[in-house]
């Protein structure tokens, strides 16, 4: 993206919310047509899961961006960095634990792979925040 840092906080929040909003809207819409056509349930379910996944408060997902922008708007950006790092790390750890439990219960390993990938950015954030404080 080349237009970095040009949008104001509310506008960027609207941008981040647009994706999941469409997902959830389509999920509700499709599920209502499920009684007529079975496949609607499948696609509605996929939209629901994708929308909820994007709303996770982990950067760089939409949920993470919403959280960051809210914090930056209400307080200031550097605190927002710290807040989103902590929340993101906590959420990613929680999800990884849940995914591991699911795998041990006999479920699919894919969620674990996805949640371990989600850990990457919060860990980077933690690293960077630490560096800036000492350096």
């Amino acid at each position: 993206m080349t237009v970095e840092g040009q949008l104001s906080y509310p506008k960027e929040m609207a941008l981040a919310a647009a994706g999941p909003a469409v997902n959830l809207l389509l999920a509700v819409l499709l599920s209502h047509f499920g009684t007529r056509w079975e496949l609607c349930y499948l696609f509605g379910g996929v939209h629901l899961v994708l929308g909820l996944f994007n709303l996770l408060p982990i950067l760089p997902l939409d949920g993470g961006m919403l959280l960051w922008n809210t914090a930056a708007w209400c307080i200031e950006p550097y605190t927002a960095d710290r807040v989103s790092a902590i929340v993101g790390l906590f959420a990613a750890m929680l999800l990884s634990g849940a995914a591991l439990w699911m795998l041990l219960c006999g479920g699919s390993p894919f969620l674990l792979i996805a949640t371990l990938g989600l850990l990457r950015v919060p860990l980077q954030q933690i690293g960077l925040v630490k560096l800036r404080q000492t350096g």
Binding site: E4, G5, G34, E38, M65, E76, P77, C105, G106, S108
Partner: protein
């Protein structure tokens, strides 16, 4: 509230433009003028584009090498790669029914039977303890099975493609499907038909074919297995006597055995199974 020039989140975009924007914002926040676009910042920015380019190149080379290796493996050793790709696909898809999971999610918000849908979702995602996916069906388990969902069962009528006769003149005492097992007292799947008849009543071959096996087991008693055209096999169990021998070719209606109650049977009947390539069919459609 700090509005004005906003700063991008630290981790998400580590590239020179973010660094410059961050530097500009920091300068403005501290009300320092004139040093932002100074030579020190520009000097710092220089090495980064070159490092990024070589990193990108390395990624490209590694990916291309991996791709070429996989393609080479597929061309030179197709059977081994097929085996491994089968393994991977099995690992990916076997434990979770993705279609059921997402459909259940959709149903949960659709409003129709939402509670059941959520339960279905949990089962689809986590798997169920009661469902067993068995790859081989032991011959002695084929008559009565405990707690397995019938994986290799086809309930719809198939067109056999050959002439057939009713194997024995008798009454239907137990049909294909779930039933209470008379011996064990719990519900099990019955993979064949039970036709009750007098002891010694003649059992005829269902159709033209070759006798595959003549054997005896604790559950089936004395049984005969005959293979027919198009991959169909029939089994006749609990016989008192078997008149055919393995390898003998028979015609439809040839007497091959006599009704009895050998094995795990409560009375004199013929336990008749019809199977096609390992899938159990419902014989009721062909036995009048």
């Amino acid at each position: 509230m700090t509005r004005g020039k906003r700063v991008a989140p630290v981790s998400a975009r580590p590239d020179p433009r973010a660094a410059a924007a961050r530097a500009a914002a920091m300068a403005r926040a501290r009300s320092v003028r004139g040093t932002v676009r100074g030579s020190r910042e520009e000097a710092q920015l220089q090495p980064k584009p070159r490092r990024r380019k070589s990193k990108f190149l390395v990624q490209l080379v590694v990916s291309a090498t991996v791709l070429l290796c996989v393609v080479a493996a597929k061309i030179t050793m197709p059977d081994i790669t097929a085996k491994y790709s089968g393994e991977v696909l099995r690992l990916m898809g076997e434990e979770t029914d993705f279609v059921a999971a997402f459909s259940a999610a959709g149903r949960a918000i659709g409003g129709e039977a939402a509670g059941e849908a959520i339960e279905e979702l949990c089962i689809a995602v986590f798997g169920s303890d009661t469902v067993e996916i068995s790859t081989t069906v032991d011959r002695t388990d084929a008559v009565y099975s405990a707690d397995t969902t019938p994986e290799r069962v086809e309930m719809q009528q198939q067109i056999l493609g050959f002439d057939y006769v009713c194997p024995v003149e008798g009454e239907l005492s137990s049909s294909f499907g779930y039933r209470d097992h008379p011996m064990a007292g719990q519900e099990r799947f019955h993979y064949g038909l039970d036709l009750s008849a007098e002891e010694g009543a003649v059992i005829r071959a269902f159709a033209d074919g070759t006798v595959l096996a003549v054997a005896e087991s604790t559950e089936l008693g004395k049984y005969v297995e005959v293979v027919h055209a198009n991959g169909y096999t029939t089994l006749y169990a609990h016989c008192s006597r078997i008149n055919a021998s393995a390898g003998q070719s028979v015609k439809a209606g040839d007497p091959i055995a006599e009704v009895g109650s050998t094995g795990d049977a409560t009375g004199n009947h013929l336990h008749f199974e019809l199977c096609c390539d390992g899938t159990y069919l419902n014989p009721i459609y062909y036995v009048v």
